[in-house]
């Protein structure tokens, strides 16, 4: 784990010393190193490594730089690369400091064809939406006009978020008997979805309210974080069927 994380971080550090095409290739190499680790883990565990919070952090560390690279190449902007690499390193550090007790067990409810698409689109959504929050901070702090990029990141993020939510509903019907039961994780997923839908409506309606929009994104990412990790620490979590940490 540490070897691969260091390898990826090394590639990214080298990428920022390089220029143009070499930078893109080095950055992609860092992503490839992490992807190799995730695939190895998948093989060793004999199940998709997507069950625990630590495993979702690993996917985030893989997918956020991937998304950043696509955005950076597509729109020829650099700052997403910096944020993508920095956030990935933070999440890898958390996993190194608090290693999961990686075990091979996968409870029967999670053994479903829905498992992989549900988690992957959610982590993709989280990658875009956290990127939008970082862009908003950039706007508030340094006054750079990152908001158009944030708008598009939210739009794509909400598309993936909707897919994750709906895949989850279809899966829940197969596994638990009902598509929606207001389990705490479901409730916070609904709140996350609602707050980003509200953001889209606000932005289209009031395009000139930039500071408000940026602050809105900062609050929204707090709701997202509650859905992702925070919900495990809430009083309501006692009865959740969505806690898969050990």
């Amino acid at each position: 784990m540490i070897t691969f994380a260091a390898g990826a971080a090394g590639c990214w550090a080298a990428a920022f010393l390089a220029k143009n095409r070499a930078r893109t290739i080095l950055y992609a190499a860092g992503i490839a190193v992490l992807a190799a680790y995730v695939l190895m883990l998948w093989g060793n565990l004999g199940r998709p490594p997507m069950r625990t919070l630590g495993e979702t952090r690993l996917w985030y560390a893989l997918l956020l730089p991937t998304v950043s690279l696509v955005v950076a190449v597509r729109w020829r902007i650099v700052w997403p690369l910096v944020y993508g690499a920095a956030m990935a390193c933070v999440f890898l550090m958390i996993n190194i400091i608090r290693p999961d007790a990686f075990d091979k067990t996968l409870m029967p409810a999670l053994q479903s064809p829905w498992f992989v698409p549900h988690v992957v689109v959610y982590i993709l959504a989280y990658a875009f939406l956290t990127a939008s929050a970082l862009g908003a901070v950039q706007f508030l702090w340094r006054g750079e006009n990152t908001l158009p990029a944030c708008d598009r990141a939210v739009w794509i993020g909400v598309a993936f978020l909707s897919m994750g939510l709906l895949f989850g509903a279809l899966w829940a019907k197969e596994a638990w008997g009902h598509y929606w039961t207001w389990d705490p994780k479901e409730t916070w997923a609904f709140l996350t979805w609602a707050i980003y839908l509200a953001f889209i409506h606000l932005r289209l309606r009031h395009p000139d309210e930039r500071r408000f929009a940026a602050w809105f994104l900062v609050v929204a990412v707090g709701v997202l974080a509650t859905c992702w990790f925070g919900v495990n620490y809430l009083p309501s979590a006692a009865s959740s069927v969505h806690t898969y940490t050990n």
Partner: protein, 347 residues
Amino acid sequence: MNRPPHGSADNLSADPVQTRERPCSFESIPPTSAPLRLCGFSPGYGSSVAMVAGVVLAGFAVEFARGGGALTPPSWPYNAVFLGLFAGWIGLLSGLPGRLTAWLGSVPFALATMLMLGILGGIGGTVPQDAGLVPSWAQRLGFHHVFTGMPFAVALLLFLTNLGMAACRKVGQLGPKAWFFSLNHIGIWIAVASAMFGAGDVIRARMILVEGQAEAMVVDAKGRQGYLPFGLFLQRFYVEHYGDESGRPGVAKRFAADVTILPKDRQFADVTVEVNKPLRRDGWTLYLTNYELSETGQTDQCLIEAVRDPWLPGVYAGIYLMLAAAVAMLFKCPFAVPTAAGREGEL
């Protein structure tokens, strides 16, 4: 689009980025340059928040007066009649001109209902949804069953009113060009309305199967008994475990029930029911949910949840519309491409 310049600190007028160019034709929300004021001075927001908050507070008052009991949702055929009247009322209202109907279908009203659903959802997502874990004053307000209580129900009705009116008006204005807007908004409307109005017809009951015995009786959460239109004979129930290092059985890897379906007038059929692989038959779906280990570690009985939800096709129709919209979102975006935004260097 002419906008009077206004002097807020965040008005980056020297900015080269053309955020106001909107290349897509399906844009659903006309932008306004009227400044947004949180205290409700911006047109439409104050009245919307007041209206929604007033209705939800009235919902809490009713909840309190009733002693915090959960609502019993109406069942067939009353729910279908209510839904028909509700949908007809929305259709009728949206056809009428005037400021009131425009207000009910407006973006400020939408944001006010979403804010209220968000607040109620925040309560329901934080307070345990279990009467035993909640203080009595919070129980009186129904905080332990937010999603089956009166305030949430009225907030949802306001939300559906707003969403339905917005969708009707948009389709009326644009016709087939409103397809993208329609997918999302009509999808949500159909799914939420089917789930809400169909709630009274959902049956979730349990049945215990014992190896070597037949059973057709189910019992719901309130202890009411009923019978499935077919019986189930449990031939064999088995559990596979993950082994741990010492060779002792670990957590369950898979559990399954081999059953024979005993219909009244047809051939018997042998099937296996397991988690994520429910059995569908005659409008019922049967889920293997759990089992109990006896003292000897033997398991010869299991728990089945029998679910009947006649409104499910409506919910699924809405879900598939929303999924189509989510895929379309990846290809169509109302926000302008960020050209020079935040560029620090060339790739």
